[in-house]
Amino acid sequence: MSRIVHPPSYPAAARPPRGRTVRFWFDDRAYEGVEGEPLAAALWAAGVRDLGRTEATGAPRGLYCAIGHCFECRVRVGDRPDRRACLEPVREGLRAYRQAPPPPLASGDRGAPA
């Protein structure tokens, strides 16, 4: 997966500004991203879809809304848990992690069965 290479007909004013390329880590693997873009965008461009596990079933979860509404993209950034990867800007040396799933919820808290 990758970055869009826009055709010449694409309006110049709509092209994303070209930021500096930076290196960051996700679960101890190094990736490259564009400074200031959301962590989730950089990871998507790198082909990473799975950003963590749901507390309810342990199934993988990833980007969903990309604008901070759904909280499906929560990751740990440094020592800060539950950061939304779709809002967290990428910067040089950033270290982010998939969150270890917390202990299972009591069965009454799981909502409807899958």
């Binding site: 990758s2 970055r3 709509a14 965008a41 604008i67 779709c86």
Partner: protein, 412 residues
């Protein structure tokens, strides 16, 4: 008193989308001490990803957003606080108290404008929570705002206006989705209506589509012709916006182990009922386009009287002609009042700011009348409507206000 200090703000704005930014610029123009909060580190809201052709070129939301941000930054009494999510708000003597994620102390303001925009309705098919399944709006953000390719073979599920906007945008960027098809009907999808209703919705937009779409829409409007024609269309659909519009197949599920690998499809008959055996097709990204609804949370939490108006997309506050809610000093603008385009949102933002300024003697009736008229003009000039009957929806809100909007906090 500076906008960054400990004093009481004249106006706090939640949301730095087109509505909030336009409001802040107008408030600054009138000298109001104002702060705009947005949980995103980037100002512009949903404007940033918008892009559509206009006669002689393109309308580029990113450029509009930059213009609004510059207008805000030009005003010494206005501060823009990004990366600051407002997670709680309460009424207090003489105004409001807000809690924002970056401020250790609450923010106080005499007036509060909620410009929190809209959010997408879910399309909860089996498999919709697999990684690689995102909303159509998420694809718009990835591709248009950040220049990230969504997929090599992406599949749009849903026939909402946003499905077509995103297909057009991805196509302009040279990465069109492979297909656009409705979801198969199911109990969890009742809010989207049956396929026949979704076809009607899509056909409402057909006048913006390619030449074949217009007579095609007229033909499909008749159930008899639909029953005759739809089964004869190729299963692979018709070319649209560099993609394939597939009206006579439906997506039953997203399939994949650790992430989306494909979709399971069924044929639809002329009445929109799934028929025949299912089959699979590969898809490396699935884009769910369920439609939009306003975000009412802060308004409801502060006790504003709310109403559910289908033409506006859902639950909205009962407001006066400026966007003042039933709670004194609490205003709404933009998609929080109903789902519409960004030009309307900007005009609504300015209108609310001038109403606040008027209360402080900083705007006259004439400026306010112009600001109200600008909203109507923007609505009339909109390239398309997200929901049929938006103007009618706003008239219903006006009628509810007339009937006694003063009754603070009552549900209808």
């Amino acid at each position: 008193m500076s906008a960054g200090g400990e004093g009481v703000l004249d106006l706090a704005v939640v949301g730095a989308g087109p509505a909030g930014l336009a409001a802040a610029a107008a408030a600054g123009e009138r000298g109001l001490v104002t702060a705009v909060f947005d949980e995103s580190p980037v100002a512009g809201g949903r404007l940033l990803g918008q892009l559509h052709p206009v006669p002689g070129g393109w309308w580029v939301g990113r450029a509009e957003a930059a213009r609004l941000v510059a207008a805000v930054e030009d005003r010494p009494t206005v501060s823009l606080r990004l990366g600051a999510g407002v997670y709680a708000a309460a009424r207090e003597e003489g105004g409001f108290r807000l809690h924002a994620s970056v401020s250790p102390t609450p923010v106080r303001a005499r007036s509060l404008l909620v410009a929190t925009g809209a959010t997408e309705l879910p399309v909860p098919l089996p498999g919709w929570n697999l990684p690689g399944v995102i909303t159509a709006g998420a694809a718009q953000t990835l591709a248009n705002v950040w220049g990230v390719e969504v997929g090599r073979r992406s599949f749009v599920v849903g026939l909402s206006p946003l499905a077509f906007a995103v297909a057009l945008e991805l196509s302009a960027a040279g990465v069109p989705p492979a297909a656009i098809a409705p979801p198969a009907p199911g109990p969890a999808l009742a809010h989207l209506g049956p396929p026949a209703a979704q076809w009607r919705e899509a056909l409402r937009l057909a006048r913006l589509g390619p030449v074949w779409a217009r007579p095609g829409a007229a033909l499909l409007a008749s159930p008899a012709l639909r029953r005759a024609l739809l089964p004869r269309l190729p299963r692979s659909g018709l070319p649209l916006l560099g993609s394939r519009l597939r009206l006579n197949v439906a997506v039953e599920a997203v399939v994949g182990r650790e992430s989306a690998e494909g979709v399971r499809l069924r044929r639809l008959d002329g009445d929109g009922r799934p028929v025949g055996p299912a089959w699979h097709e590969a898809a490396d990204a699935v884009l769910l386009a369920g439609g939009l609804r306003p975000v009412p949370d802060l308004l409801r939490a502060l006790g504003a009287r709310m109403a559910t108006v289908e033409e506006l997309g859902g639950e909205v506050p009962v407001v006066d002609p400026d966007g003042a809610t039933t709670v004194p000093g609490l205003y709404a603008a933009g998609n929080a009042l109903g789902v519409e385009g960004a030009a309307v949102a900007m005009a609504q933002g300015r209108r609310a700011a001038l109403a606040v300024a008027a209360r402080l003697g900083r705007a006259d009736g004439r400026a306010q009348a112009e600001a109200r008229a600008a909203v109507e003009r923007a609505r009339a000039d909109a390239p398309f409507a997200f929901h049929a009957g938006v103007a009618e929806g706003h008239r219903r809100i006006a009628a509810l206000w007339q009937e006694g909007g003063g009754g603070d906090g009552r549900a209808v």
